[in-house]
């Protein structure tokens, strides 16, 4: 089932001004529920803009974004139409109807950012509280949850992201870069979003930090069954964590689908700005040297299996 669908979505910066710029050009795509989808593309291919649209921060210039089949940017008129057939609303006075609809829209909007959690690029910049615990609690508190519920969610989020209990009382500014990143991630996970959107979650981290943050995301996805979207340049991370892949370029969707299927178009992927893993490069070199190996190998594990098999033949 599709969790999110984009229908003919376009976005234009500075519309009508001389430096008008099309960031997204008639994008249609769907994202499967309960799966991890990777999004790749050059810097400036419009992927960051698209990410910010999914939780309503940026509104499309045209087109619709559907979450569970509902338009997330529904206007007054849309909701009115949707409800006009319901008998309980017909009975209300005109003023009361309008009020109810307004409340509904405002609820939907604020609910939206809790349902679709967005982790921006270098999210450690968003930390501001005195302690890690308070910072993680910022989102849940904005949701208006009880103190007990907030505390539970903070612990849960800390567990997913591998933050030790004793870190919770520290100032977020005293942590290492990788830890800060995980606190920021925990701050979003603590809202228990149905959809978790991450913009280059591992950028700039060392290998250990990289694995930790991506494992945290994967943990959350597995134990909650939520839908995850990851923007990344790393084919290797995609191969390890993503079920589906969307390739963007020049404000459009170039390819979308099952990872294996998309990854079989290696040349186009490199064109789209992907970091081709060294191991993939090695396998291609080996194929050139006459070894019979599968073309789409993206992890060391797969390569090991393939090469071993070639030796065993």
């Amino acid at each position: 089932m599709d969790k999110i669908r984009l229908e003919h979505v376009s976005f234009v910066y500075n519309q009508g001004l001389p430096f008008e710029q099309v960031a997204l050009d008639d994008i249609s795509l769907s994202i499967r529920a309960g799966c991890t989808t990777g999004i790749i593309g050059h810097t400036g291919s419009g992927k960051s803009t698209m990410m910010q649209m999914l939780n309503g921060l940026t509104k499309p210039t045209s087109g619709k974004i559907l979450l569970d089949g509902y338009d997330i940017n529904a206007t007054l008129e849309d909701v009115f139409e949707e409800w006009s057939s319901k008998p309980e609303y017909r009975e209300l006075s005109k003023g009361a109807r309008k009020k109810a609809i307004k409340r509904e829209i405002s609820n939907r909007r604020s609910e939206l950012c809790f349902r679709v959690g967005l982790v921006m690029q270098y999210p450690e910049y968003q930390l501001f509280e005195e302690t890690v615990e308070k910072d993680i609690a910022f989102g849940p508190r904005n949701m208006g949850l009880s103190e007990q519920e907030i505390a539970d969610r903070v612990r849960e989020a800390a567990r997913f992201t591998g933050l030790d209990e004793d870190l919770l009382q520290k100032s977020p500014f005293d942590l290492s870069g990788g830890q800060k990143r995980r606190v920021a991630l925990a701050g979003v996970i603590a809202m228990r979003p149905e959809v978790l959107v991450l913009d280059e979650p591992a950028a700039g981290l060392d290998p250990v930090g990289r694995t930790r943050i991506l494992e945290g995301v994967s943990q959350y996805q597995k134990s909650t069954g939520s839908t995850v979207l990851i923007v990344s340049h790393s084919m290797e991370d995609m191969a390890r964590y993503c079920d589906d892949v969307i390739v963007m370029g020049g404000a459009r969707v170039l390819m979308q689908g099952d990872r294996k299927e998309v990854f079989s178009h290696a040349e186009e992927l490199i064109e789209a700005g992907l970091d081709i893993p060294q191991i993939t490069h090695l396998i291609r070199l080996l194929r050139k040297r006459g070894m019979e190996l599968p073309e789409n190998v993206y992890t060391v594990e797969d390569a090991l299996a393939a090469v071993e098999e070639a030796f065993a033949d």
């Binding site: 050059h42 810097t43 400036g44 290492s176 870069g177 990788g178 950028a203 700039g204 060392d206 290998p207 250990v208 930090g209 340049h233 290797e236 700005g273 992907l274 970091d275 893993p277 060294q278 191991i279 490069h281 090695l282 070199l285 080996l286 050139k288 040297r289 006459g290 070894m291 019979e292 060391v300 390569a303 090991l304 090469v307 071993e308 070639a310 030796f311 033949d313």
Partner: protein
């Protein structure tokens, strides 16, 4: 004064020591109550014209080491000589300091935080302006530097409109315009996308090969380190490994223990050997060499003509 000019042949016969460290130590807040040692006795020599990668996880002391080399930090104890200047002596004057920093340039991690001026060419001119280079020569230096990093057409752009890789190249040009002998890259590619990283790495290589500039690239990307002539691995403030990429990557378990991964090709070679496949050779740091090694073993096993049907 040595001024590097194009195509300096790197003389292997007469190695000239550019950096000499002996039991070099550094503590943050050395006198204070919570002195925090970051470097605990590092001894090494780096020759002029070498391309050295410095590896280590975050907090290993690798950045501290770099900052000592141009006296952004002062050594707590030990001996350190850079470009013939004793940095541990007490008689360093401002004039010497400026001379040192002219010779040893540094490019930092965040591309946004090291550009000073509102125009690219003025930013490149910033260093030589500070050195008091006469106006007629300034122009030439700026143009040459921008040309070397391939940013000539952006000379009159505003830095904030450039991509990350372009900003870093402008930063490099800013250092080049001071005509340095050595450039230290302090995780300069960490915040870039794959394209930006390639742009910067190509430039770095070019500076080393064509202008003979000594390069110290501090990084945690293994593939980047593999391009260097020599790798230093620093862990917990100490020099853990020192050798060519092939030598260092052979120590896979040592690297793993300190939170570093070998490149994927090297990893594959190691694992194949663990599975009992015999691979001859020690060149394990680059994909071509690894491919040759595996293909050789495979052909040996399946007979010279390749697999049975071939």
């Amino acid at each position: 004064m040595h001024v590097p000019e194009g195509n300096v042949e790197r003389s292997k016969k007469l190695p000239e020591i550019f950096i000499h460290a002996e039991d070099l130590c550094f503590s943050y807040d050395a006198e204070g109550p919570d002195a925090h040692p970051a470097l605990k006795g590092v001894s090494l020599d780096i020759q002029k014209g070498e391309y050295v990668a410095v590896l280590g996880h975050n907090g290993s002391g690798k950045s501290t080491f770099a900052k000592l080399l141009n006296l952004l930090l002062e050594p707590t104890s030990g001996k350190l000589t850079v470009a013939g200047m004793d940095l541990t002596s007490s008689g360093i004057e401002e004039k010497d300091l400026l001379d040192l920093r002219r010779k040893v340039g540094m490019v930092f991690q965040n591309p946004d935080n090291q550009l000073v001026a509102t125009l690219v060419e003025e930013d490149v001119a910033f260093g030589p302006e500070n050195l008091g280079v006469p106006q007629s020569e300034l122009r030439k230096r700026v143009d040459d530097a921008l040309n070397t990093v391939d940013m000539t057409s952006y000379a009159l752009q505003e830095p904030h409109r450039l991509s990350g890789g372009q900003k870093q190249r402008v930063a490099i040009a800013g250092i080049l315009a001071m005509q340095p002998q050595c450039i230290i890259f302090d995780e300069s590619t960490a915040m870039l996308d794959p394209n930006g990283r390639q742009e910067v790495l190509r430039t770095v290589k070019k500076l080393n090969r064509e202008q003979g500039i000594t390069i110290l690239n501090i990084t945690h990307y293994m593939n980047e380190a593999a391009e260097a002539d020599r790798i230093l691995v620093i862990n917990d403030g100490k020099l853990l490994l020192d050798g060519t990429p092939d030598e260092v990557f052979a120590e896979r378990s040592v690297l793993q223990e300190v939170g570093l991964e070998v490149p994927q090709c090297t990893e594959l070679i190691h694992r194949l050997r663990e599975r009992g496949i015999s691979l001859q050779g020690s060149q394990i740091s680059d994909a071509e060499a690894c491919a040759d090694m595996i293909a050789r073993a495979w052909k040996a096993k399946h007979g010279k003509g390749g697999p049975a049907n071939g």
